[in-house]
């Protein structure tokens, strides 16, 4: 047999961002607001714990579901979001939250099942559903709703007939959050139409002006929900690749069956780092959140001054400004990169609902943010847009 790609793989379009990489390579003064990961390093205590674990030779596999102490620490940690999960049966530690998402699609989606994907969305959900043989049903959210998911949006998209719903709040790429009040009708919709819910809460800790709410905490939702979270964003551990899923025991069993034959166990060194991160790095997390919040206010107020409207994002580390009239988001992003060396991601990469917007990450120091916004200002001035 020749190495001809499978039909499923062939169905996935190549990344829309690749050509931007090449343009960025041509300049050496690029300020990137295109990154989806923290600019902070992992808190030192967590790195130190990882190093110590290596010195002690802790380099074997762990239990498939992850080290018991870590699952216990996770169970304790998620109580802050009003979530109660049993470390023995209801938590599985994964290689990044991305693995958890993939496990859920493979464990619960049958060929022909429809998964409603709330857009603009993190780019992995659609392909993940496709790899699992499911059908993607986009559910666009709108700027006038501050990119929150509404029952109206679900109904318009026809999600009542779907089998499952996947979303990410606080949202990548918009920075939108869902309050308890916002979630309530969505939970009711899921119960009424018998939808499984895959709730990606990787940015939960990065919620400003308010508390993160989880849909799994609503009555009648726990049994139909898988919650994804991890250490990449709040604990600045992207490269350590560590996440987890929370779900009822039978659901974790199903995910674990896929996991034990594919990943076997999440990286052991990273598990030691994560254990320490939960044990002693709360202060550093708080300080990072405070830094993000400062930058968020700075960036929002600059875009407002530049006449690029931007709803008040209250989560993750993104804002989602609108490009000026006469531009599509790709042209704007490309010209801004070529002329001013500022990298932002065109919103349409995250689904059709993102057209006309830019994803601007503020996971970058204030000095660079100030410079980047000054360059955007001069870009607009040169075009008489300001």
């Amino acid at each position: 047999m020749t190495l001809e790609q499978s039909a499923r793989v062939a169905e996935i379009p190549p990344s829309g961002i690749r050509r931007f990489f090449e343009i960025a390579e041509e300049r050496d003064d690029v300020i990137s607001l295109g990154v989806g990961e923290p600019d902070f390093s992992t808190p030192w205590a967590a790195r130190d714990a990882a190093i110590k674990s290596l010195e002690l030779g802790k380099t074997s596999y762990t239990a498939n579901r992850g080290m018991r102490e870590l699952r216990e620490a996770i169970a304790e940690y998620v109580t802050r979001f009003d979530l109660a999960y049993d470390p023995d049966g209801e938590i599985i530690v994964t290689t990044g939250a991305s693995e958890a998402v993939d496990l859920a699609f493979r464990a619960f989606v049958d060929p022909g099942d429809t998964v409603a994907v709330v857009e603009p969305a993190y780019i992995s959900y659609g392909p993940g559903v496709t790899f699992a043989g499911g059908e993607v049903l986009p559910v666009p959210t709108r700027e006038e709703d501050e990119f929150r998911l509404t029952v109206d949006a679900l109904e318009r998209a026809g999600a009542a007939d779907a089998d499952a719903l996947v979303y990410c709040y606080p949202n990548n790429p918009t920075g939108a959050v869902m309050s308890e009040t916002d979630l309530e009708p969505v939970a009711a919709f899921a119960r009424e139409h018998d939808l499984a819910v895959f709730a990606d809460e990787i940015y939960a800790e990065l919620t400003y002006e308010g508390e993160h709410a989880s849909i799994a905490a609503f009555e009648g939702m726990r049994e139909r929900t898988v919650v994804f979270n991890g250490f990449s964003k709040a604990h600045a551990m992207t490269g350590l690749r560590l996440g987890y899923a929370l779900a009822p025991e039978s659901a974790v069993d199903a995910m674990n069956r896929v996991h034990q034959y594919s990943m076997l166990s999440a990286p052991t060194t990273a598990q030691y780092a994560a254990l320490e991160a939960l044990a002693s790095c709360e202060g550093e997390v708080e300080s990072m959140v405070e830094q993000y919040d400062r930058r968020r206010r700075f960036v929002l107020s600059r875009f407002e001054e530049l006449g690029m409207p931007c709803f008040e994002a209250r989560g993750a580390f993104y804002v989602f400004p609108t490009v000026p009239d006469g531009f599509d988001c790709e042209t704007f992003a490309e010209e801004l990169l070529r002329e001013k060396g500022v990298a932002v991601v065109p919103g349409n990469v995250f689904g059709a609902g993102g057209e006309g917007h830019l994803r601007v990450s503020y996971a970058t120091g204030l000095d660079d943010l100030r410079e980047a916004l000054a360059r955007i200002e001069s870009f607009l001035t040169e075009r008489d847009l300001l």
């Binding site: 931007f20 990489f21 990137s32 990154v35 990548n172 930058r295 700075f298 107020s301």
Partner: protein, 161 residues
């Protein structure tokens, strides 16, 4: 608590404009200016200076940390000795500390000779000073919260999902 926030930002970078501080804190620029003025007025903010890594400069700059032991008597307290020492322009920092010695004094000069001469001719003879121990700074790794390494290169990809 806006005062505290403004102070933190100035400590992070005293060159943030009042417009940027206003954007970051959500205060009006006028309020930021008033807050800074009040902090200066009250003597909370005593000045603004550059943090210099002398190793990167061709010209030599010699710095020393000097431990001072003193004896007090009825007429002379720590503050009296301190105000006498602090008047010397060579003294860049002076603190009363706990532990084995009394004052921790930082001195700057253009050469080791100049600094040594200052300590032996101007400081040691002060009657209340019983002992001086001079430590010359060999390398500075961090000053005022700023690390002097080459900096952590941002090795993140310029785009990531």
């Amino acid at each position: 608590m806006s005062e505290r926030e403004v102070l933190e930002l100035l400590r992070e970078n005293a060159r943030y404009g009042t417009d940027d501080i206003a954007r970051i804190t959500g205060l009006d620029e006028d309020d930021v200016e008033a807050t800074i003025a009040a902090l200066e007025e009250a003597g909370v903010v005593r000045g603004y200076q550059a943090v210099v890594d002398w190793d990167e400069l061709e010209d030599e700059r010699v710095r020393a940390v000097v431990e001072l032991n003193v004896t007090l008597d009825r007429e002379t307290g720590y503050a009296d000795i301190a105000s006498r020492l602090a008047r010397f322009p060579e003294v860049t920092a002076l603190r009363l500390v706990s532990g084995d010695y009394d004052f921790d004094m930082e001195v700057e000069g253009d050469s080791i000779r100049e600094v040594s001469r200052f300590v032996s001719e101007k400081v040691a003879p002060v009657p209340e000073i019983t002992q001086t121990v001079t430590h010359y700074v060999m390398t500075a790794y961090k000053e005022n919260g700023i690390e002097f390494g080459d900096g952590d290169e941002d090795d993140r990809l310029s785009y990531s999902p």
